[in-house]
Every structure is written in structure tokens, then in C-alpha cells.
Amino acid sequence: MKKYTILLIFISINFAQHVFAQETEEILVTKNYFGKTLKNIIDDLVRTYNIDIDYRKEDLPGGIVPGKSFREEPLDAVLQRLLKGKDLHYKIVDNQVVIRKSDEQIKLEQKKYERKQNFTLSGIIKDKSSGEALPYAQIMVKNTTNGTASNVDGYFTLFNVPSDTSVLLVRYTGYKTKQFFLSPKIVSSDVLVELIPENNLIDEVVVTAESEELMKVYKDVSVVSMSPKQIKTLPGVGGQDLFRSFQLLPGVSASNESSSGLYVRGGTPDQNLVLYDGFTVYHVDHLFGMFSAFNPNAVKDVKLYKGGFEAKYGGRLSSVMEITGKDGNENNFNMGAGISFLNIDGFTEIPLGKNGTFLFTGRRSFQSFLYDDIFDSFNSDETTTEMPASSPMGKGGGRFMANNEPSSFFYDLNAKITFKFDKDIFSLSFYNGQDNLDNSSVTNISRMGMSMNGGKTDLTEWGNWGTSLKWSRHWNKKFYSNTLISYSKYYSNRDMMRNNTVYRDGETIEVNRGIIEDNQLQDFTFKMDNEWKIAQNNQIEFGVQASYYDIDYLFTQNDTSIIQDRHDIASLSAIYLQDNIRFFDKLTFIPGIRASYYDVTNQIYIEPRASLNYDLTKEIKFKAAWGQYYQFAKRIIRDDMESGSRDFWTLGNDEDIPISFSTHYIAGISYENRNYLFSAEAYYKDLQGLSEYSLLYAPTFQQQQIDYNEFFYEGTGVAQGIEFLAQKKYGKYNGWVSYTLGEVMYNFPIYGTEDFPANHDVTHEFKIVNMYKWKKWIFSATWIYGTGKPYTAPTGAYDLTMADGSVSSFITIGDKNTFRLPDYHRLDIAATMEFGMGEHGIGSLGFSIFNLYNRTNTWYKTFELVEGDLIETNVNLLGITPNITFSFRLR
């Protein structure tokens, strides 16, 4: 191998010398330079004549050079004229020009760079201002199809670069595309490509014509990313939101206001693997799902695999969302803060010495009118029913009751410390987020010798803790490894107890009624991922993963009856291997296999996967994928008629809870040119071993004799559909139109033999995303239309005279989910402006209106039988909601 490399270098040198020798001296310059600095002129010469000029920026004087015209002048003469009187001298050797201060000797032998042809280039892509490494950036050799992408740490290796003077095109969503000119000097070591973020502030000089905008569809099947930087210009209830923005993509359902989790291609949010800096996040909702639990200030990159995902990822049926947190500014201290009608947030970035960075972000809600509006709209089930004022004491005097105002909030915190050395990166990432919804009230009654203290506890809290310690090493140009240990904890506690203590004549009576539900999941994971780039056309990825799960679930009623008390412990070990091979420069084939051993069932689960893309022309690509997926840790929906549907995480065991299994089939075609992208993808997903838990079929009156594990129900499903996307990628006006035709049919024998549409089934979903830049403003508007969700409705009622002569009414229902709620649609608009605040920093002001035309969208319905009449009540989602955000940052 080494021999081969040496030989290659030798050949390259020889070849280069043959071709390029004497050329530099022979260059004749024809140029006019006015109003340029010396550096501008030198850079232009480098670009125009493809020459390598080595200079030190600090050596060059900064002022404007008096106008100069050259007409077929030899380079030598040009340089003499340019450098005259500037205290600089130069030498030309082997096509390389070296400029130094007059007092510094030019050691030619040191400045000789090997000329390279058809060589392998490696380097790193970074944000120019913060030094933040940019993951999954696209690197192409200009005018070829030869390209690669940076890895999660921003590193890339590009094979077969034709010459050391080739031009690279480097693209990253939310950043200006950069043309990067190679030179023998630059390629002599790892290259650093710095990209400039798409800045809404400036209209100065347009640096490059094109820049990557909000959303990028990858050439790999079903992969898409969005720029966290640009997401903030989209309208949202409480400002920018990662998950809500992803819901604007085709194939991701947008009409679930009560969950910010992603319903990807008929999958449910728990079938979507959410990785944040490598650790799994089990619950992504803030405030009843109106917001996602991630602070965009802490996020650098988000990538969504809508299906057919790689062997590297496992444990989920449908999709993967990989979130890479920011490292923080390497160069300068930075901080910022923001406020909206809903929350305040702040961040700080501190460089730690030469190699380290520290980032801290935090967000917390406060109880504004907006918070209350949302809170009320999700607690509206009580508002439609007037509760009869009944009191056990009858109408009596001396009764004092104090109600506490409900207090609720959410917060999230992110912190990350990163140390980067030559080949190694160590990072420690930490996340904590919590929601606390407290609707409790206190009762104090005292009258004539008797007192009752107590009240109603209605406390719902949930949250996540996550941390990961990552070591990645760039062993050499071809081998990269990433080792990670992580811990993730999700907890959800619900305490709805009415407890009263009655003191009377020295006697104390305790009364406790209600439910307590606690779910806690802990996930300890070790992961090692390796990438071995064997050659330009062949890259192998392999790795291991070991996870240990500890999940508890407790559900009790009235202090006494335990309905569920599960303690599940499991370990899951997996290995995977994947090969990414490119044939004839047109066909990329990625076969992979993942094998997992799950100790609960003592079985090995094999998941073969394959995907391919074929470039028919430069613009037209075909894509296809197939794969099998298992899911061991599952979220199970528990139907609860009194407190809404709740869910809990538990582990599959193949006894009462099956291990879920899915098979994906995906095929698609895309046409992409400089400005537009058109794509269509069809998917078919077969789902096995779905679980549901429901006490609806359990008698509620005799709890001692019931085995509550019998109420887990198993089912199957099929999700299929086709997605269309038309995107205008660049320009003052950009955005996209998407349409998804989809279907998710479930079959749970408990509901009958017929297939029925799943609760989240949406037939047609149409979305338009528009962005328009005007001066310092960005205007955006999104419109979402979705077929109404299915629901089960009563078809009739009947009365029975009971044994004691009383009459009871019963409602009969139609087949499951045969009715549809009214169609969902909503228009949101936003305007965002960035403005400089002199040397003090950058400010940003945003206005947004959610549900502009105040569409009444129905969440669900309730039915009540009153004297033979069916009273149907719509429980509606949020109406028109304005918001203003203001934020400030130093840089």
C-alpha cells in the first residue's frame, strides 16, 4: 500500500513537471486593476492563470493600489510592477511564486510543493466566523460528478482529485456555496474550507451567486436536512422549532398539533429514532407537543432519514432523525439572548484555550397569555361540560375553599465541551429538558369542630436527561472512527390524586382517590462506528453497539390497586457492516446488514438492508431502498377515557408485547438542476407486532381478579404512499410545494377482522413553503392542508331498564375509524429582520401569526347522550395566535 502511494506520488511529480515546467514564466497577463488591494490582485492572478502564489497576508500592504493595466505582459514583469516600492520581493520556481518581505530570505527548497494529479485530498469544513465544524457538507470537484460529504465532525476525504489546481464546490445548507481553489501549497496538507453563513443582515456585495437555502434533499434515498439557521425565519407558534419545520416536508405529517414528534410515512413518533449528539431522546414534546424539546440555538445540523435507513441505525421501525449539537465558537466569546411571548432563551459560547470550546444554552417558558392559550386549548375537555355544583356537605355556611392558580412551565438546557486536537476530537454533550404542568388545587374546609385539608393534585411532569461522551479519531485519510458512551433517561410522572384528610373529634380519616402513573426509562449505550474509505468508489462502514435498558412503569388507581407495575431490564447488542460502492461513476449501491442479540428473548435478529441510486444524467437520478427493521423498546399508547390517551415506554418480550418488525420498500426519481429540484418517492412499509394497551375492554368495577397484562393488544399495519416535491432552491424567492398521498391501515383483531385506518392516517397532505427576501427582511408563509383524521363515531344508542328499575343509556359505535374529522388546514406567516447594532452585536426581530385566517381545526370529538339526543362536541385546536420574538447576539 505504502509502496503504491510512493509510486503514485513519484509519477505525479514527474508528470506534473512535464506538463507544467516553464509554464509560469511563460504566462502573459492581460488585466486591468482599479480600486483593488494588492491581495485582491494577487488572488485574481491565482484564479485567472491557475498559478500558485505563496504569500503571507500580513506582509501585504492593505491600501488600494493605484490603477494598473497589463497587456500581454509576462508574469515576471507584472509582479515586479506590483511589488515595486512595497518592501517585498519574490521568486518563481517550478510554477510557484513565493512573495516575502525584502528582509526575509526565500528558501526555495522549502517552498517547493509536490505537484499532484489524481490525488486524494482530505480536510475539514468549518464555519468561518465561529470555527464550528460543519457535518454532512457536500464537496464536489467543479464540473465533474466526483464528490463526497464531510462526516459528523466536518472531516472529508475526496479521492481522485484531477489536479492540484482543481476547483472544489463546497455546499452546506444555510451557508453560501464556496468555490475553493486548490493549489499545490493548499493541497500539501489537510485543507481547511471555511464557509460563510447565509446572513440576512447584509446586502453589501453579493459574494457568490448561489447559496444553500432552508432545505436540502440528499441524493441518497429519503434523506433530507434543514438548516437550523434558516429555520428561524419560518413561522411558528412560539418561534423557531426544529420538529415543526421538518413537518413541512413531504412524507412527514403536519397536522398533528398535539405532538411535535414526527409521523414519518405513516410511522408514529416512537418509531422515529431521535439521536442528539449520539444519545437517544425518547420524548420530544414540550407543552402538549406544541413545541419540540430542542433549542435551535444549540443545534448545528439536523438530518432526517425518512425510510430505508442505513445499517448504522437500529432499534426503530420507521425513520431516523440525527441532530448534531453545536460545539461553540472556537475563535471568540459569544453570547446572546432572546425573548418571545412564550419563552426566554440564552446562550453563551466560550473558547477554551487553543483547542477547546464550551457551549451553554437554556430556554424557559413563562406564563404569558400565549402560554395560557395553549395550555387552555389542550385542557379544554373540561370546559365544554358544566360540572354540577355538588357538595357532600350540602349547601352550608362556613365553607372556605382556596384554589391555587395552576403553575406550569418547561425548560431545556444544553451544554457541550469539545476539545479538538490534530487527529482527535473529544466532546461531552449534556441535555436536560422538563415540562411541568400543575393543575392542582387546595381545599381547606373548616366548620364547627371539623376540618378537612387536602385537595386535588393534578401534576404531569416529563423530561429527558441525556449525555454523551464522544471520541472521534481521524486515524488517517482513509480511516475514521467514532466511539461514544451515552446515557439517556426519560421520565413521565402523572399524579392525579384527590386526597383529603378529615380531622374530627381527634379522629383522622384519609381519603385518596385517583391515579398515579410513573414511567422511567434509562438507556446506557456504548457505540463504535468506523468508516474505512478503501477507494474513491468503495467505503466500508462497520461498528458495534451495546445498550442496556432499564424501564419501569407503574400505574395505580386509588392508592390500592396496581394495574401495571413493570420492571423491565434488557440488553441489546448489535453489530453492523455496510459497503458503499460506486460503479461506472453512475450507480451507487449500499448493501448492509445489522445483527442484534436481545437477551430478553434470547434471539438474534438479522436486518438486511440495501439502497441504491443511479445517475441517469447529471440531473436525473433514480433511487431505491429496501430494508428490514426491528424495534425492541416501544412506546405503547394507553387509552384513557378520563385523562386522555397516555403513553409509556416499555420493552418487547414476545409474550404480551411483541418485538416490532417492519420492511421498507422505497423507489424514487428526482430531477435537479442549479435552481430547481423535482422529486417523487413512493414507499411501502409493512408493520408487524404493533402494540396497544387499553383498559376499555376491562371491567372497571372488580379490580382484584383481573390480570391487567391481558389488555395488551397486538396488531399489524401497512403504510404506503407517494410523495412529490418541487423546490426552488435559491434566489430572493425560494421555497417548495409538496404533496403526499398516503395511507396507513392497521389491523388489530380486538377491533374486528376488518383493516381500519390508523388514527394518524392522512390521505392527502399538501404543503407550501414560501420565503421571500426583501432588503433586510425575510418574509415567509406556510400553508398546510391535510385530510381530516379518522375517528370512531356513535351510530346509535339504546336504553336498558336495569334490574332495579333505573334506566341506563348505551351508545353503540360504528366500525373503528370509519369517519373523518373535517379537513385540516392552516396558514402561518412570519417576517424576520436582522439588524446590526454597531459594534455591540446583531439583533433580530420576528413577527409571526399562527393560523392566520383562524381556521377552526378539530382535535377530537366528544359524545354525550342526553335524553336520547346525541350531543357532539368538537374539541378544537389552536386558533389565530400572534407572536413577536426578539433576539440579540454578540456576533
Binding site: R504, D640, P699, F701, Q705, T795, G796, R820, Y860, D869
Partner: protein, 272 residues
């Protein structure tokens, strides 16, 4: 109000047509019979009622259950078969004309009828009379509380017991017999004179003097019921997110075919 509901339902119906092609099956359930049939040991077969559902989705919004007439209903027990006839005065009510034929205890009975060319059936077992039904006390003295009086916190308990060696379901109906209401406390202004419990597998129920809100004679009926009857008390959900059909033991129908047995005791509440 009713008009609005009709309109909403109509819209839903239309939407439903719009949304699904093969939605006709959601209406089929309307045409099932509702059976309400009770057998009481020691009494003739005289409580069998057939009706249709009160439909929510038809255009002639009926808000009452239409009786089902002219149906041949048979009740079987061992080798005996009883053909019921419909009451002339009340449509949909059926009985066995021979009133000397009494329902036996501890016997399996089944019902069969044919409706809309479908065979509708159910079965049940008649329970025995509750055994050893007892009240710990049958006379209570409670001090009348007038305005300005100091309340007493003297609590008396009446323990109601019965035998339940076979783990059967029981429930109670405790009812004031007096028609003129005489509350024990000036603060009691309502007229809630009946306490109904729900079926449980138990052999005891306690009432305290705090439940005795009026002076007078109370009747305590203990119902021994079957499991299928007890299931009727399951709570059913009312939101579209989790609607379920109510429990029934009728094959190809809705409602209940069951049997129960009772025993009755009395107690009195008097002024101190």
C-alpha cells in the same frame, strides 16, 4: 340545538361519503335488535323487550327506540321450549302467556329469535336467592338538627351481610319508602332518597347514619346478578379518540339477556 346537531351529523355523513368509498358498513349496525330480557326465578317469563337502535345517522332523526314487533321468540330451558307472544298493549314487549309457568333457580336458559334473517341468541343461568341476608340493626335513632344546633358526630353503622361462597356478583338498592320527605338535618334540601351500588363480588356493605338523611322506612334490596349483567356497568368512553362498543351477551344483537334473584329487608330511621 337539535337542528345544529342534525346539520353537523349530516356534514359528517357527507364527509364520510366523500372520504371513503366503502363506508356502507358503518350503517349496518343500525339494523340490529336491542334485546332487554330478564328472568326472575319464581316469576313468569314477562320481561322480554325488543327494539331498534335510536339511530344517530339517519335523516329522520328519531330520538326514541322503535319497537320491533311480530318476531317469533323462543326461550329454552332443558327440554322445555316456551314460545312468547307480543303484548297487545305495548308493542315490542313479549311474554309467555301461561303465567303459572315460573322461572326456576339454578337453571340454564337460552333465548332465540330471528331478525332480518339473522339468528339472534343468548344464554344465561338463573341465580339462587341470596342466602343469609342480614342487617346488623333495623332501627336507628338520629337526633334532628335544627338551625343553630351543635352538630353531633355520633356515627352509627348498619352492616349489611350475606353469604357469598361462590364468588357471585351482588349489588344493593337502598330506598326510602316514605313519600313525604322529612330530613334529619336542616341543611338537607335535596330529595335523593335512593342509593344504588354497582355489582361487586362481596358479602358485605356498610351504611352509616350519615347516609340516612331522612326519617322513615328504608327498603334494602339485595340483587344477586350474573357476570354478563355486571359487565354492563363497565365505564364506556365518550371521546372520538377511544370509543368502544358497550358490552353485550347477545349474539347478533345488543342489550342483555340475564337473570337475577333478590332478597329484601327493611330498616327504620326515627327521631331521637
Amino acid at each position: 340545538m337539535k337542528n345544529t346537531i342534525t346539520n353537523i351529523l349530516l356534514i359528517i355523513t357527507l364527509l364520510n361519503f366523500y372520504a371513503c368509498d366503502d363506508n356502507d358498513y358503518s350503517f349496518t349496525k343500525e339494523d340490529i335488535p336491542i334485546v332487554e330480557a330478564y328472568l326472575i326465578p319464581g316469576e313468569p317469563i314477562n320481561h322480554v323487550k325488543l327494539s331498534k337502535l335510536i339511530p344517530f345517522l339517519s335523516e329522520d332523526t328519531l330520538s326514541y327506540a322503535e319497537p320491533i314487533s311480530n318476531v317469533n321468540i323462543r326461550i329454552f330451558s332443558g327440554n322445555n321450549s316456551y314460545e312468547l307472544i307480543e303484548s297487545k298493549d305495548s308493542a315490542g314487549w313479549y311474554y309467555f302467556p301461561d303465567t303459572t309457568t315460573l322461572v326456576a333457580e339454578n337453571q340454564e336458559y337460552s333465548i332465540e329469535l330471528s331478525y332480518n334473517e339473522k339468528s339472534v341468541s343468548a344464554r344465561t343461568i338463573t341465580p339462587e336467592k341470596p342466602l343469609n341476608f342480614k342487617l346488623s340493626q333495623n332501627l336507628f335513632y338520629i337526633q334532628r338538627m335544627e338551625e343553630g344546633d351543635m352538630p353531633t358526630f355520633d356515627v352509627q353503622t348498619c352492616e349489611i351481610t350475606w353469604d357469598n361462597s361462590d364468588g357471585s356478583y351482588y349489588y344493593l338498592n337502598i330506598e326510602l319508602m316514605n313519600t313525604v320527605i322529612d330530613p334529619v338535618n336542616y341543611m338537607i334540601t335535596d330529595t335523593i332518597t335512593q342509593t344504588l351500588t354497582t355489582p361487586v363480588i362481596s358479602d358485605v356493605y356498610n351504611i352509616t347514619s350519615r347516609n340516612m338523611r331522612y326519617y322513615g322506612t328504608y327498603r334494602v334490596i339485595l340483587y344477586k346478578v350474573n357476570e354478563e349483567y355486571a359487565y354492563l356497568y363497565s365505564t364506556t368512553s365518550s371521546t372520538s379518540q377511544s370509543l368502544t362498543d358497550p358490552y353485550t351477551n347477545i349474539e347478533n344483537g345488543k342489550g342483555i339477556f340475564t337473570a337475577f334473584n333478590t332478597d329484601t329487608l327493611f330498616f327504620e330511621v326515627k327521631e331521637y
